[in-house]
């Protein structure tokens, strides 16, 4: 296990370097800069402001300086928000994104696995068709449509739930419900389809036949013998699922007007707030690497075959 963690850390370094370099140089290649505004600055003032942020130096030099800084854990000041560091802005947006993202992942995993198992155990029966039909709809209705539609029906027409206005300090169930459902739905659909397929396969395996022959009760067969094997593809799907939730959260935050990181990233990219964009990219890339490692460790813990 230590070997795996070490190997991953070794791969993580070039990965992070690649991510940082690509994002850095692409952002610098974008036309315009953070200090272009309606109000034209006097050239000498603009020069002074740029010098203060090292923006007057060649891009490669800036990159070197930036690397030196982030190695010490300093993401630098925001170029757009006065008196705020990138770390401050991230600290403001992260809780919202994390609450929505984590809840969606938990809901998606719980419901997806449960529905998939239920469908597999009643393969080719009406229950199976209903679940798989719903799953297919879940894959095909984009969150862009589902989000506004849900908020139209439950927020505007029925007026049961608020459509926006989640505030930063209080995460009420009512405010979270619609965004979480919208974000989780595509993942529920994918996970339940995956789970159904692998559960059907597991139920046909020799291990399950042996367990039945030994006289293990059916519930024991499902819980102790089939499920631990069938869950493995879901564990390896965790990485892509995390990326999917992350991508979805960009849209969800816009649809439901949530003050999360995704919106900060987009505003940052559009206003050329270089340091903010870089900070969010570094945070998410690091998070994905870490979560992928955790998923791999979980996989090894569950599947004795890959333990060496």
């Amino acid at each position: 296990m230590t070997a795996l963690v070490l190997r991953r850390l070794l791969v993580a370094i070039p990965t992070m370097f690649f991510v940082i370099a690509a994002a850095f140089f692409l952002m610098r290649a974008a036309p315009g800069g953070p200090f272009d505004s309606e109000r034209q600055l006097a050239p000498e003032i603009e020069q002074r402001v740029k010098a203060a942020y090292d923006l007057d130096k060649p891009v490669t030099v800036q990159f070197g300086l930036y690397l030196q800084k982030i190695v010490t854990g300093d993401l630098g000041p925001s170029l757009k928000y006065k008196d705020k560091s990138v770390a401050d802005i991230i600290a403001e947006g992260l809780p919202t994104s994390a609450v929505i993202g984590l809840t969606s992942m938990i809901v998606a995993l719980g419901l997806g696995v449960a529905l998939g198992v239920a469908a597999a155990l009643r393969q080719n029966m009406p229950q199976d068709y209903v679940v798989m039909g719903l799953a297919l709809i879940g894959v095909c209705v984009p969150p862009l449509v589902m989000g506004p539609l849900l908020s139209l029906v439950f927020g505007v027409q029925l007026a049961w739930l608020p459509t926006s206005g989640l505030s930063r300090d209080q995460y009420s169930f009512r405010h979270l419900l619609l965004p979480v459902i919208t974000l989780a739905l595509p993942q529920i659909a994918i996970i339940s389809r995956l789970m159904r397929a692998s559960m059907i396969e597991a139920m046909r395996s020799n291990a399950v036949r042996t367990a039945r022959a030994k006289g293990v009760p059916e519930a024991g067969v499902v819980w102790r013998h089939a499920l631990p094997v069938a869950i493995l593809p879901i564990v390896s799907y965790l990485g892509p699922a995390i990326a999917g939730v992350l991508t979805g959260s960009f849209v969800i935050e816009s649809v439901f007007q949530l003050p999360g990181l995704g919106r900060q990233f987009i505003t940052g990219a559009l206003t050329r707030d270089y340091t903010l964009v870089m900070g969010v990219v570094i945070l998410y890339a690091g998070l994905i690497l870490l979560l992928n490692l955790l998923a791999d460790l979980l996989y090894r813990a569950l599947d004795p075959r890959v333990r060496t």
Binding site: V11, T15, P31, V139, L144, L149, L152, T247
Partner: protein
Amino acid sequence: MSAEDAPILIAPPGEIAAPANEQIPAPVKGRSLWDDAARRLKRNPAAMISLVVLGVLVLLALLGPLLWVHNVDTIYRDRVAIAPTWANAHWFGTDAQGRDMVARVLFGLGISLMVGVVATFVSLVIGVLWGATAGYLGGWVDNVMMRIVDVIYTVPFIFFVIILMVTFGSNIFLIFVAIGAVEWLTMARIVRGQAITLKHKEFIEAARASGASSWRIITRHIAPNVLGAVIVYATLNIPVVILAESFLSFLGLGVQEPLTSLGQLISGGSKYMDRAPWLLIWPGATMFVTLLCLNFLGDGLRDALDPKER
């Protein structure tokens, strides 16, 4: 087509030495991999219906804007944001600027399909070349190439697409390239895996042993066997790309006026959904049907081309 020409999983009969003096039977019409697949596909009603619906949608997207009574960008100042009605043939209503929604949905569908197909093609070309090279050459080249794929794989693609769109301004060609350039990774992995398995298959060895040239092996044996997986992946990738483009449109980074896409229409419609829900519902429904059909067709093709998967 004779049995000799058909790509089959065992060495073509011509390459097996026939025992002397035994009468060689008249060539039987061979059933190729593709005949088999077509037969299996035809037995799948969901996939066949999807194929027909998709065909209709493609025709509508191609011919609709030419034949429909309203133009995509004609503005009817006296008929702004009217609900769907038979009058004046505004079947899907008009938008907030007074443009006919049927015309816009058909046009947007065409652009969305085009983005899906072209970006998938871009990812296909990169992915197949990358994967085939890595798989065929093997060794350290394979190692380096696939580690690069691993590295890019962990990068959340949405960041890079957004940064790319911001950097180069959004135009439709960049959308093709940007989405294509991040979707090729899975393709490369699939093709590499296939290339490695096939390299060591008995029928390839048999063909080589009986003196078939490399060219013949690649075109007759390797290509048809890889092609199946490529077609399946491409079909299932088109809806992914269409969704990705709609994400970008929603964030204001997708195709720009005067072009429009389903994603663009949906994000526009969601702004007016409490007053004019048809602006969200029609493009949304069109996109739903398109994605549903592509998924059904992709699943059907997978079952047809790779029966082992089932």
